[in-house]
Amino acid sequence: MRTKWIYLLFTACMLWSCGGNEEQTLVLNSEADLAGLRIATQSGSCYDVELSPRTDIELQRFNTLSDALQALLHGNADVLLNDETALNAYVCREQGIKPVLRGEKAYPTSFMFQKDDKVLPAAFNNTLARLKAEGTYDQIIDYWLKDRYIDADTFPFIPVPTEGQPIRVASVCATAPLSFASGNEWYGLEIDLLRQFANDLNRPLDIKFYDVTAAIMSLKTGKADLLSGGVFITPERQEEFSFGEPYYAFHSTYFALDPDSENSKSGLAARSKKAVHKNLLAENRWQFITDGLLLTLIISFFAILFGSLLGIVVYRMGESRLHWARSIAKIYNGFIAGIPELVLLLVLFYVVFAKSGLSAEVVAIIAFAMYFASSAADIYKTALDAVPHGQTEAGLALGFTRVQAFFHIVFPQAVKRGLPLYKGLCISTLKATSIVGYIAIQDLTRAGDLIRSRTFDALVPLLAVTVLYFLLVWLLAALFNLATKKKNVL
């Protein structure tokens, strides 16, 4: 019964989300025909650079390929520009799109290393040379670029060393066939190359999925050794970073909606059933969500815990008789109020704690605890100031010590006044942690992104993540309501 409702819900959403499809085939004979069209592409990508000089088109820049694809599917863009591999025949069939024009340019692609790194690029070139000589290179290319992997239950897996200094890989791509996550492992063309590379160096691999900007910062600040994910070699990038030898040259390709696809013909119920299966059940993708949920919970819990404690310190300093203590509290609150959470998170991770070796999760907890403390101090002040001084005096006059008077008399009354505010703060902190993906933490939101980049389906992962956030918030609120239930003081 319950599953039926969930399907119904998804169906309703699909119905809504499919509204914009047009039933015409777009015909393009050359890149000149693009004039007047809306073209979706990934921001900062080579396609972005390639099309930017053209003034006769409307260029739409998206953070991820799946976002760009959604724009095409919903009729917000006419054409999608990407390389020929990510949107292979299988994906096209699934999504109801087709390639309409092969671009004129091909882009040599490789891994990107730190600028002054001479060792790793050279080592990679050796690995590539070895693979080419052995013929392994051709096998890898053949397997991943000829779509054979699509029907496979398992993917080729080359074990790598588990001991030693890991090669830290910042991947900006979670899309087949280059690199994608399935279960607890990463697979794909680039991953196979990297595994060979790791074996040659006799070092383990540590692969993390980053936002593009965050990945570049990680590489610059030495938090990652190499950046992967189909990075095209361009002169601008070569000025800032160093590259290995290109392992492949990808052709740009234009995609448009395919009115004849099965997808647009099959029934809604069947499609939503398939969408749920594809996004949550296949390859146990729900595990991304449960793992992300756990991380979101852990980060929120410790941020709230340490934030509450730090808030006491900030509050006490703000109320202090010492001028300097009050000043510090004031500066702290002004500082926190003036900086967006994301900026603080990035600054802490890439600048302040860049060399400390603290894990991203710990840095996230610190950042959110800092935010929490500032607001919590305000709440403490509001709540405690609302309890008249006479209450303390009455307690003292009865013979309570100062500490007893605070905990027996003032505190319970302050809690009553401050708890609704505190509850709101906890809930907004829980939701605010959804930005930790920027420092490569695979939290609940990022888990949705990860599935999205693999399945190119915006709706189901987003809906699943939304429902989970909603449940979390609801649970948290219920917990607080339980705590505020009237209890006898004696």
Partner: protein, 355 residues
């Protein structure tokens, strides 16, 4: 029981200035005494009371309770306060507890009484103050008088040896003053040591064994109710207990501002509900411009005694040993006043018109 000597209290303001509220308080309080502390507003009555249980620690001086110096470093103040209860002007009931819990809380938490015992005692005390049927309600639903009676029961629940009452009826509607005073009256008979800061003169007179009259930060006069109310030694005490109100003008020369005098008299009469304003003003004009025209400087004083309802106008001249009035003046004034008194004073001569 309590011995206070050379107690003083000075508040340091944030701007560096300071305000001395208590100057030099000395007194001995015996067990079982019921002492009312009276005096004009702002003379440190409440500050003195709050100094006794160290809610407002004094700046200097000493307080001995049962021979122990409570200002000594490390003295367990909370132990003292357990023996010396306090009832506040603003009640300060614990708003998050029921009436019963308010009364039981301290005995259970501090005296480690069992809940059953504390519950039983609390009910007895609530019965004593007439609020046993309100045991399970929250203070917010009580009237001011009821709140203050609960506060008294709460103080009694700690079995104190003394209770300090800080203006217990000042925040109450006039209709509720009686119920609270009658509870305190009842307590006064029980032999409990009590110090009461109050503005209720009749109550102070009836209930106290002793009265402190405080003025300008010192105990100005200390005596039985009879001494203080019937035979006060100091003029300040007298004008306070008889509720004498004064209006004073100094007239240096003929250029004085007689309009200011007119306005002053009108406001004075309005304040004390007097109908003699215009009459007084015409008399003053007559004396100043006719009978005592040549006599400057002089001090003009209008007084009203609330207890007796007598209003007088005085003309005081310094360094004068005889009456400045002529017979004609006397003849003109006498029919207009209840009495005309001409008398020498320490510093000169006074003409007193009783109107």
């Amino acid at each position: 029981m309590i011995s206070v000597s050379h107690l003083s209290k000075t508040y340091q303001n944030a701007d560096g200035s300071s305000l001395t509220v208590l100057k030099d308080i000395n007194c001995e309080i015996q067990r079982g005494e019921v002492i009312s502390i009276i005096g004009p507003s702002g003379t440190g009555k409440s500050t003195f009371l709050r100094a006794l249980n160290l809610l407002d620690p004094p700046t200097s001086g000493s307080i001995l309770v049962d021979g122990e110096d409570i200002l000594a470093k490390g003295y367990p103040v909370h132990k003292l306060r357990q023996k010396m209860g306090m009832v506040f002007q603003s009640f300060n009931l614990f708003e998050h507890m029921t009436v019963l819990e308010n009364v039981m809380y301290a005995p259970v938490k501090i005296l480690q009484e069992s809940k059953e015992q504390a519950h039983e005692e609390a009910l007895v005390l609530l019965k004593k103050v007439g609020l046993v049927e309100k045991a399970d309600v929250y203070p917010s639903s009580l009237s001011g008088g009821q709140k203050q009676r609960v506060a008294i029961a709460r103080a009694l629940a700690m079995h104190p040896e003394a209770i300090l009452f800080d203006e217990p009826t000042s925040a109450l509607d006039p209709t509720m003053v009686g119920e609270v005073l009658s509870v305190i009256r009842q307590l006064a008979k029980s032999g409990l040591t009590m110090l009461i800061v109050t503005h209720e003169m009749r109550f102070a007179r009836d209930v106290s064994t002793r009265i402190f009259f405080m003025n300008e930060g010192v105990i100005y006069e200390d005596g039985t109710p009879e001494q203080i109310f019937e035979h006060p030694v100091h003029s300040a005490t007298k004008s306070f207990v008889q509720r004498i109100q004064k209006l004073v003008f100094k007239i240096e020369s003929d250029d004085f501002d007689y309009l200011q005098i007119h306005t002053g008299i009108n406001q004075f009469c309005l304040k004390y509900n007097l109908t003699v304003g215009e009459h007084a003003y015409s008399l003053i004009k007559e004396v100043l411009f006719t009978h005592m025209r040549t006599i400057r400087p002089l001090t003009l004083r209008m007084t009203h005694t609330e207890l007796s309802g007598v209003t007088t106008v005085d003309f005081m001249v310094e360094n004068l040993d005889h009456s400045p009035l002529t017979d004609a003046a006397r003849a003109s004034l006498r029919p207009q006043v209840k009495d005309l008194i001409e008398e020498p004073t320490k510093r000169g001569f006074r003409i007193k018109l009783i109107i």
